[in-house]
Symmetry: C2
Subunit: 310 residues, 2 copies
C-alpha cells in the first residue's frame, strides 16, 4: 500500500484539496477555484493539474500514492460516473475514467455529502464506529448513511437524502424538492427560523429574540441564556428531528448519529434537544445509539474522499 | 463451489428445511418440530442430525455441499451468535460454532426476517434487483433491508424493524414494543382491523363489512367488490404505509419494495393503495422505485438461508 493519498472535494465555487498520509494525517491542504464556465469542462483538468503539480513539488513517486478520492455535489454511480451535477454545470461526466487518464493514479468518486460522512467516520465525530448516520444541518438538511464502514449510495444516488423525509402534514408551502412537509423545512437553519417566526407571532411575553436578527444561531444563543421562547423553539426542532432519526434507526440501526453543518456550531446543547425526543420515539433496541457532534467542519469532504481509496 | 446447499428456517414450532442446488432449485423440502423445552438445547442438534441424515440419504459427499444457512427469530451477530431468542427459549447461543462442529459444513446464520428478504431477492418478488426493502404485513409489520445484494443487520440487530417507525401522534395505546403510534399499529393485519373498527363506528351507510367477520382479508375482499367503506379503509392504510415507505426510501434508496406476509394475499390491488401514496410523499429521485408482491410465502426463509452461504 502506498504511503499517501489525495482527497478532493469539488464545490460550486472552490475545490478543496488535501494530501494525506494513509494513516489520515493531513500533509497539506489547499484550494483552487472551480471554473464552472463552458459546462465546467476545466474542472477535472484543473484538479488533475493541481495533483500532478503537488506530486512533483513533494518529489513523490506514483508507487507511493494509494490514489485520489473525489467528492462532487451530485449523484455518482458505483463506477464513478455522474449523470448530471447542476452546481458544476456538468452533464454526464465519467470522473474516474477522466481523472485516471490525466493523473495515472487510481481514482474513486462519490457524492459529497456521503463522502463527508465517511470523513467524519474516519477522523471526526464518528471515530471508532462502523455504522453511522451523519445529519448535516445547514441551509438544508443533508445526510450520509454508513453501514459496516461503507457509504450507502442508493440505487438512484439518493440514499441519505434524509432532509426530504415527510414529517409534517400541516405544512402547505413547498420544499426545494417540490414536496411539502419535509424535515428540511423545520430542522435546517432556515427551518429553525420558520419555527421561530411562528412562535414569535404568537408570543406575548418578553424574549431575547425580539432584539436579535432572527437566525438558528440567535435561537441557540438565546437558549443558552435561558430564554423561554427560544427553548420552546429548540424543543419543537428537537421533536421533529429526534422523531425522524428514530424512524431512520428502524431502517439501518446505526451505532451513532453524528450531527454536523452550521447549526451544529451551537454545540452539545443541540444534542440534548435531539436526543431527548429520539429516546421518546425510538424502537427500544435502537435507543442505545450514541449522539455526537461532527468535528471536521468543511474538511470532512477531503478526509472522506481520501478514505475512499484506502 | 459445491453443487448443493441447505437452507434452514427455525420457527417457534417447526423448523423448515430445504436442500437446494446452488442455482436455487429446491431438491427437497421437509420440516422437523422445534423442541423448545430445556431452553431449546435440542434445537440445533435436531437440525444437525436432520442435515447429516439427508446427506447420507442422498449419498452426498461433503465436498459437494457449499454450506448451511440458518435463519432464527432473534438478533444475530455477524459472527453468527444470538444473544437471546425468546421464541426458541434460548439464551446466548453461538449457532455457527455449534452447527459447524456438528455437521462439518460451513454455516452462516441470520435473523429470520432479514433472511426471508434475501430469499425474495434471490428467487421471489425481488428477482433481478440488488437494492430492496421487504415489507412483511402479517400480525405485525416486519422488514428486511438489502443493499447491494447483502442483508443489513444493524448494529444492534434491529435494522429492518420498520414496523416500529412512529407514524401517528394520535394513537395513545401502546404497540407490542411499548411505544405508541407505530406503523405496525395501523398497517399490519391487526392494524387494518383497528382502522376498520374506527371507520365502521362512524359509518352510517350500508357496507359489506357489517356482514363479515372483521379482518384484513374481509376489508380487501370487500374492496374488490367496490365497497365504499372498505375502499376508505384501504386508502387510510395505503397512506400510512406509502408515506412511511417514502421516508425509508430517503435512507437506503431501494430499487424495489417487495410486499409480503398474509395481508399481501390480497394481490396486486394492495399495491395500488400503497404506491399511490408512496408517489405523493417520496423524494422525486426515489419515485422510480418499483413495487412487487412477495412470491415465496413461507418458503422465503429457507431460500434466503440457502443463499447466505453462496
Amino acid at each position: 500500500m502506498g504511503k499517501y493519498c489525495f482527497g478532493i472535494d469539488v464545490g460550486g465555487t472552490t475545490v478543496k484539496c488535501g494530501l494525506f498520509t494513509t494513516e489520515g494525517e493531513a500533509v497539506e491542504k489547499w484550494e483552487i477555484p472551480t471554473r464552472t464556465e463552458e459546462n465546467g469542462k476545466n474542472i477535472l483538468p484543473d484538479v488533475a493539474a493541481s495533483i500532478n503539480e503537488k506530486v512533483k513539488e513533494k518529489h513523490l513517486d506514483p508507487s507511493q500514492i494509494e490514489g485520489v478520492g473525489i467528492g462532487v455535489p451530485g449523484p455518482v454511480s458505483e463506477e464513478g460516473e455522474v449523470p448530471v451535477a447542476v452546481n458544476l454545470h456538468w452533464g454526464r461526466v465519467h470522473i474516474v475514467k477522466e481523472m485516471e487518464a490525466m493523473t495515472g493514479l487510481k481514482v474513486k468518486a462519490g457524492n459529497d455529502a456521503n463522502v463527508a460522512a465517511l470523513g467524519e467516520l474516519w477522523k471526526g465525530g464518528g471515530v471508532g464506529y462502523h455504522n453511522m448516520i451523519l445529519v448535516t444541518l445547514g441551509t438544508g438538511v443533508g445526510g450520509g448513511i454508513i453501514v459496516n464502514d461503507k457509504i450507502i449510495a442508493g440505487s438512484h444516488g439518493a440514499a441519505g437524502e434524509i432532509g426530504h423525509a415527510h414529517v409534517d402534514d400541516s405544512i402547505k408551502d413547498p420544499c426545494n424538492c417540490g414536496n411539502c412537509g419535509c424535515l428540511e423545512q423545520v430542522a435546517s437553519a432556515t427551518g429553525i427560523v420558520r419555527l421561530a417566526k411562528e412562535e414569535l407571532a404568537a408570543w406575548k411575553r418578553d424574549t431575547l429574540l425580539k432584539n436579535r436578527p432572527l437566525s438558528a444561531k440567535a435561537v441557540f444563543d438565546s437558549v443558552k441564556e435561558g430564554d423561554e421562547l427560544s427553548i420552546r423553539i429548540a424543543e419543537r426542532f428537537g421533536r421533529y428531528l429526534g422523531k425522524a432519526l428514530a424512524v431512520y434507526a428502524c431502517v439501518t440501526d446505526p451505532e451513532v448519529f453524528v450531527i454536523g453543518g452550521g447549526v451544529s456550531k451551537a454545540g452539545p446543547i443541540l444534542l440534548t434537544f435531539i436526543e431527548k425526543y429520539y429516546q421518546e420515539y425510538a424502537f427500544p433496541t435502537c435507543r442505545q445509539a450514541a449522539f455526537a457532534l461532527a468535528t471536521l467542519g468543511n474538511d470532512a469532504g477531503i478526509y472522506g474522499a481520501a478514505k475512499m481509496v484506502l
